[in-house]
Symmetry: C2
Subunit: 426 residues, 2 copies
C-alpha cells in the first residue's frame, strides 16, 4: 500500500516524539543556537527562495500588505534569530515535577511535566512562523508537522531545511520537524483525523480555517484567532489613562486580534471622555461607529476644525472584529450593562476596564470570562512575548488545555508519577 505524504511524516513524527520527550536540554538548546546561527549566516538560500515566492506573489497580484507579510530580508532574519535565542534562554519545561506529596500509605504521588507529543500546525502566509513554531516545539520536546501557506512555500522549505540541518547537527531525532510539501487542501483534512499519530492541531489563520478545523477534526484543536475586544471606561476612570489605553488598543496595530473593537463608556463620564478619545483617535484617522448617545455627544462637541469620522452604528457594528482603524462606541448606564454587553458580544479574547474604583476592578476581573482580562492596560498586551513567555504558538480563545497566549508550558502535559515501596490497594 502506498501511504500518503501525511501518513509517512506523521509516523516519523511519532517515532521522533518518543525519543524527543527525553532528549536533553543541552541538545535542544544546541539545536536552537544552530538555527539562530543559520539564520544569520546562511541567508543566501533563504533570500533566494523568498524571492521566488515574492515573484510568484507579484505575478498572482497579491496586495502590498500580503507581499510585505511574505517578505524576508537580512533584518527580519536577524530578528527571527534573536527570537529563537530568546526561546533557547527560557527554562526547559519538560521534567518539572509538581504537586508531589506523600499519602497516608506512604505512596509519593505527583505530576511530571511531559511534551504533548506530535503537533500539527496549519498556518498561512508569514514564513517566520515556520521557525517560531519549530523553536517552541523543539524546546518543549514536541515533534511538529508544519503545513504552511502555498504563497510562502519556497521560503518555508528553505527555512525548514535550515531547521532540519540544525536538528541533525545537534543530534535531535530525525523527524522532529517536518514540512508538508503538498499544497492539496485534502491533506489538511487527513491531518485533522490522524488520531493516534498527531496529538494536537494548532490552526493559525482566520475564522474560516478555525471553523474548518473544529468541524472536521477528531484530534483536539486549539482554537482562537478571533478577538472582538472591548475596553470599558468606568465612571471612576482616570480619563487620561482611558484615552491613552483606547488609543493604543485601537491604533498601535489595528490588524491584529487583540486590538480594540468596541469602546464602552459609563454615561456619567461619556460627555467628558468621548470627545477626548475622538480627538486622539482622529489623529490616526479612526472611524467611530456610535450608538445614539455617543453620537449625540460627539456631534455636539465636535469643533468646526475637527475631522472626526463619526457615523451611527448599526447593530452589527457590535460584536464585529474590525481589524482596521474602525471602532464602535456605546454609552452604558453602569458596570452591569458593560458586563452584559461583553458577555453578549465578546469572543472571550481580551477585555479591559479603565477604573480607579477597587470594587469595579474586582468585579470586572471576576465576572468577565475571557482569555485575558485587563485593569488599566491596553488589550494589545495579550501576547506571548509581552506576557513573558518568550514567544507563542497561538492565542487560544477556547477553555480547555490552555487559554490565551500559548508558550512552552502550554505545549506540555503531565503524567502522574507514583513512587512506592510495594503498596497495594486495600
Amino acid at each position: 500500500m502506498v501511504q500518503s505524504e501525511l501518513a509517512v511524516k506523521a509516523q516519523h513524527a511519532k517515532a521522533a516524539a518518543r525519543r524527543l520527550a527525553f532528549t536533553s536540554t543541552a541538545v535542544k538548546d544546541k539545536t536552537l543556537e544552530g538555527i539562530a546561527r543559520g539564520l544569520e549566516q546562511d541567508q543566501g538560500a533563504i533570500l533566494a527562495a523568498n524571492e521566488l515566492d515574492l515573484a510568484a506573489g507579484r505575478a498572482a497580484g497579491l496586495s502590498e500588505a500580503m507581499l510585505d507579510r511574505l517578505l524576508l530580508n537580512p533584518k527580519r532574519l536577524a530578528g527571527m534569530a534573536a527570537d529563537v535565542r530568546s526561546v533557547a534562554a527560557l527554562p526547559d519545561p519538560v521534567g518539572e515535577v509538581f504537586e508531589m506529596r506523600t499519602l497516608a500509605n506512604g505512596l509519593q504521588v505527583g505530576k511530571k511535566r511531559t511534551p504533548v507529543g506530535v503537533l500539527g500546525v496549519v498556518y498561512e502566509s508569514r514564513p517566520n512562523v515556520t521557525v517560531d513554531i519549530s523553536a517552541l516545539c523543539l524546546k518543549s520536546g514536541n515533534a511538529v508537522i508544519l503545513r504552511g501557506g502555498k504563497e510562502a512555500r519556497h521560503s518555508n522549505r528553505a527555512l525548514a531545511d535550515l531547521v532540519i540541518r540544525a536538528c541533525d547537527a545537534a543530534g535531535v531525532p530525525e523527524g522532529a520537524v517536518q514540512l508538508i510539501e503538498s499544497t492539496d487542501r485534502a491533506l489538511v483534512g487527513e491531518m485533522l483525523r490522524a488520531n493516534g499519530l498527531i496529538d494536537m492541531i494548532v490552526p493559525r489563520g482566520g475564522a474560516d480555517l478555525h471553523r474548518y478545523c473544529i468541524e472536521n477534526a477528531t484530534i483536539p484543536v486549539i482554537t482562537g484567532g478571533i478577538g472582538v475586544c472591548h475596553t470599558y471606561v468606568d465612571r471612576e476612570a482616570d480619563l487620561e489613562k482611558a484615552v491613552n489605553i483606547a488609543y493604543n488598543a485601537k491604533v498601535q496595530r489595528p490588524t491584529v486580534c487583540n486590538a480594540l473593537d468596541t469602546l464602552l463608556v459609563h454615561r456619567d463620564v461619556a460627555a467628558q471622555c468621548l470627545p477626548m478619545v475622538a480627538k486622539r483617535w482622529a489623529t490616526a484617522g479612526v472611524e467611530m461607529r456610535c450608538d445614539p448617545r455617543a453620537l449625540e455627544i460627539l456631534q455636539k462637541s465636535r469643533g468646526a476644525e475637527e475631522h472626526w469620522k463619526i457615523r451611527p452604528a448599526r447593530e452589527d457594528d457590535f460584536g464585529q472584529e474590525f481589524l482596521s482603524l474602525v471602532a464602535s462606541i456605546k454609552v452604558v448606564d453602569n458596570l452591569d450593562e458593560a458586563l452584559d454587553h461583553i458577555y453578549r458580544y465578546g469572543t472571550q479574547h481580551s477585555e479591559a476596564i479603565v477604573t480607579e474604583d477597587y470594587r469595579a476592578a474586582m468585579r470586572f476581573l471576576n465576572e468577565v470570562d475571557a482569555a485575558a482580562v485587563f485593569v488599566n492596560a491596553s488589550t494589545r498586551f495579550t501576547d506571548g512575548g509581552q506576557f513573558g513567555l518568550g514567544a507563542e504558538v497561538a492565542i487560544s480563545t477556547q477553555k480547555l488545555h490552555a487559554r490565551g497566549p500559548m508558550g512552552l508550558k502550554e505545549l506540555t502535559t503531565y503524567k502522574w508519577i507514583v513512587l512506592g515501596d510495594g503498596q497495594v490497594r486495600p
Copy 2:
C-alpha cells in the same frame, strides 16, 4: 421554532454557568451538604424509583452483574452521601491566582482559576454517577447536563431531583444541574455539536461510546476508559513485592480499567518469579496466557497438585484489556524490551515497574508515556479518591487539558489577569 430538549437545557446551563462561576464557596458547600442530607433522609422516593428500574431490568433480562450496578440501597445511599461530603470538604479550586509576577513595565500578569463552564456528561448504568458528577461540577462552579443510561432512568431522575432541590434551597442559579429526559441517541449527537453552549464532553462508558464521541464531537471531548496496563518485574525486583503487586493489580478488582492485563518479567528472574506469581494468582483462579518462554517455565515448575490455568498466548492476548481474571505474560530480555512492549501495546493508562534499581526506576518513570507511571506499587491506585482528589469525573487517557484521574482542579481552566496603571504597548 420549537427547540429541542437539549437546546433549551443547554441555554439554561450556559446562563447558569455565567453566575455559577462566581457563586460563593459557602453556597456551593451548603448545596453539597443539602444533597448529602437528602441522600440520608429522603431515601423513600429514590429507592422506589430504583425499584422501577430494577423491575424493568429484570423483565429485560439484565445480568445479575448489571442489576447489581443499578441497585441502590440505604447503605449505598449513605456511601454516596459520604462521598458528597468529602467533595464539600475539599478546597474550592475557583479563584486561585497563580504564576503572578510583575513585568519590567510594572504590569502584574498572572492566571486566575475559573470553571470550564458547561459540561455534558454521557454515562451508562450506575446511578451514583448522577450524584458524584453533580457534586464535583457544583463545587468547581460548572453547570452540567447529565445524560444517563436508560436502564437507570427512574433512579437518575429521582437523584437529579434531589440535587436540584438542594441547589434551589441553597440559592444556586437555576439550570446548574439538569438531566436529559429523552433516551433518543440522536440527542447525544446533538450534545456533541452544541458549540458555544457546552464547553466539554465527558463520556463515561466503554470503548464504543468514546469512539462515537471522538468521531462526532465538535466540542472538546475527554477520552479515556480503556486501560491495557502492564506491570514489569525487573531483574532487580524484590520478588515478594512483585508478587503482591501483581496479585493486587490483577485480582483486587479485575473488571476495571486500571487492573493488570500483562505481566512482563525480566528473563533473569523469570524462572524464580513466575511460579511465585502463578501460585498466588491460582488462589484467585487467574488464567495465564503465556509467551513461549513463560509457558516453558510454568509448565516445568508446576507441581502435580497445582491447578494453574496456563495456556499459550496468541498475538492478540497482548494489547488486550481483559476486564476479568485473565492475564497475559511475557518474558523480556531487558528493560528496553519492556519499554518497547509497553510503547507498542499500552493505551497510556497505568504502567508499573517493580525494581530496587535506581536507574531502571528512573528510566521507566522518564520514558514510559502514560497517564500514571508507578514504581513498586499496584496500578489499581490510579483513581481520584486514591490520589487524594476526593473523587473523579473520569480518568483521561488523552494528553490535552488533563491526564489520569480528573477531580475538581481538572474541571477548571484559567484566565490571564493583568493589573496595570495605564500601561500601553510600545
